[in-house]
């Protein structure tokens, strides 16, 4: 078996287009995961059981079921009850919901890491609950979980090939489409793998910088 360099080179433009689509879905999905994850983390601390329990159940349910199943559900089942979304919106929401369940745990750990004395000091100054959260607790909790949140950005990006099942033309879809015509899967998969690697490293780089900075601050 020989490696056809020309075929590999020819695969780059369509694969880059697939990568752009994957990054678009990943970016939207990640924003959803960051925002919704924080909301889940806060709701799970609610003093109201009827808020805390359903959110807790939802998070555990999402964490315990495969992303692929969730994507199928959103793409094939929701339209039957009248909720019709584009493939891209479905993909971004699917990734976002799935990873929100994980980021909520990261936020939870960050919030739990804020010393109890900080809550007590806020109370001793009669700060409102909202102000305690937004000015005291979250500004301390979020920076310490940035590295962990960054790692989920990489994981989320690496899950984008699963979007192929809901017709999103991301990298793996391009590999299948082009490969079904020229059967040069070795070159296609190799280039696709390299694109994933380079992109994941580019996402990881700022995460590592933040990690180092945080470690220095802790020292």
């Amino acid at each position: 078996m020989t490696f056809d360099w020309q075929a590999a080179w020819d695969a780059v433009p369509p694969l880059l287009r697939g990568l752009a689509t994957a990054l678009q879905a990943a970016a939207f999905g990640y924003v959803i995961a960051l925002v919704l994850g924080l909301a889940f983390a806060l709701l799970r601390r609610s003093s109201l059981r009827w808020v805390r329990l359903p959110v807790g159940f939802f998070v555990e349910f999402v964490r315990s079921t495969p992303l692929l199943v969730q994507l199928f559900f959103l793409f094939f089942v929701l339209p039957t009850i009248g909720v019709e979304l584009s493939a891209m919106a479905t993909g971004a929401i699917g990734l976002g919901l799935h990873y929100a369940a994980y980021t909520s745990e990261v936020y939870r750990a960050g919030i739990d890491g804020v010393p109890v004395g900080q809550w007590e000091a806020a109370k001793a100054l009669s700060l409102s609950r909202g102000r305690t959260w937004t000015r005291v607790v979250l500004p301390q909790a979020v920076p310490r979980v940035v590295p962990a949140l960054g790692n989920y950005a990489i994981a989320l990006f690496k899950d984008t090939p699963q979007l192929t099942v809901i017709t999103i033309a991301e990298v793996l879809s391009v590999v299948k489409a082009v490969g079904s015509q020229n059967f040069q899967y070795l070159e296609l998969i190799t280039v696709a793998g390299l694109l994933y690697l380079v992109t994941a490293l580019l996402i990881a780089w700022p995460v590592r910088v933040l990690e180092r900075r945080y470690r220095r601050e802790l020292a």
Partner: protein, 258 residues
């Protein structure tokens, strides 16, 4: 005689099997400076934490400024207080903690202005001016822009004192404020508190092992043992001629330690 600002009426508190406060009753008059002494676990800090609404009593009633602290009136009956009542009651008191508990994400000036602006509703300029004055009183006028992590423990505690005073409380609660500091830094903090006691019209409840400080600033010293007050007297009486053997024993151990 001045009316009592704080009243504990048969207050009880247990943590698991340990009785921390045992049917405790006492009062503190407005403007009085009261020091609480006694061995660890005798309930002193629990009293401060209750007044700050950080710990609820199991039984009994605490009254602050004529209002029940953990109960609110509904018609003729008293019901357990909701968060709104507790928040309103908290405005009477503020607390300085052993571990300072400054907000590490805020500079010194903002630590002191945050609550006056957002709780008392003071205009930002007025709160800043007042914060600068208070930080000057505690000797930290030059550290307005520092973060707490850039300050020594003693300096952090002095900021915490300024932050507490900025709330213009009726009652200032001081919970072993020098216990985490080495003697030199502790002395700085105690000097500041002597100034505060002299110049501010505030009722003070202070838990401390610094007996000289207690003698200097207190109107009354309460000796605690196993959740009860076993002796209550002026500092001169209590330190020079304690009536209870347990008090004598405790004072000896504190003197040996220092």
């Amino acid at each position: 005689m001045t009316a009592e600002l704080i009243t504990f009426d048969r207050v009880g508190k247990r943590f698991a099997d340990a009785v921390v406060l045992d049917d405790l009753s006492f009062g503190v008059r407005a403007g009085e400076r009261v020091t609480l002494i006694g061995p660890s676990g005798s309930g002193k800090t629990t009293i401060l934490r209750m007044l700050m609404t950080l710990t609820r009593p199991d039984s009994g009633t605490i009254t602050l400024a004529g209002e029940p602290l953990f109960h609110e009136r509904r018609g003729d009956t008293l019901v357990p207080a909701g968060e709104r009542h507790l928040r309103a009651m908290r405005r009477h008191t503020t607390m300085v903690f052993q571990q300072y508990n400054l907000f590490p994400n805020m500079r010194v000036l903002r630590n002191v202005t945050e609550a006056p602006v957002h709780v008392l509703g003071l205009p930002a300029e007025e709160a800043e001016e007042r914060a600068r004055e208070l930080l000057d009183v505690v000797g930290l006028a030059g550290k307005l822009d520092a973060y707490p992590s850039q300050l020594s423990g003693g300096q952090q505690q002095r900021v915490a004192i300024a932050r507490a005073l900025a709330m213009r409380p009726d009652v200032l609660l001081l919970d072993e404020v020098t216990s985490a500091l080495d003697p030199e830094l502790a002395a700085e903090v105690l000097d500041v508190l002597r100034d505060v006691a002299r110049t501010f019209d505030v009722t003070m409840l202070c838990v401390t092992h610094a007996m000289k400080f207690a003698r200097d600033v207190s109107d009354r010293v309460l000796m605690f043992n196993e959740g009860r007050i076993i002796e209550s007297a002026s500092p001169d009486e209590l330190f020079d001629a304690p009536k209870q053997e347990r008090t004598r024993q405790f004072l000896r151990s504190v003197i040996d330690e220092s």
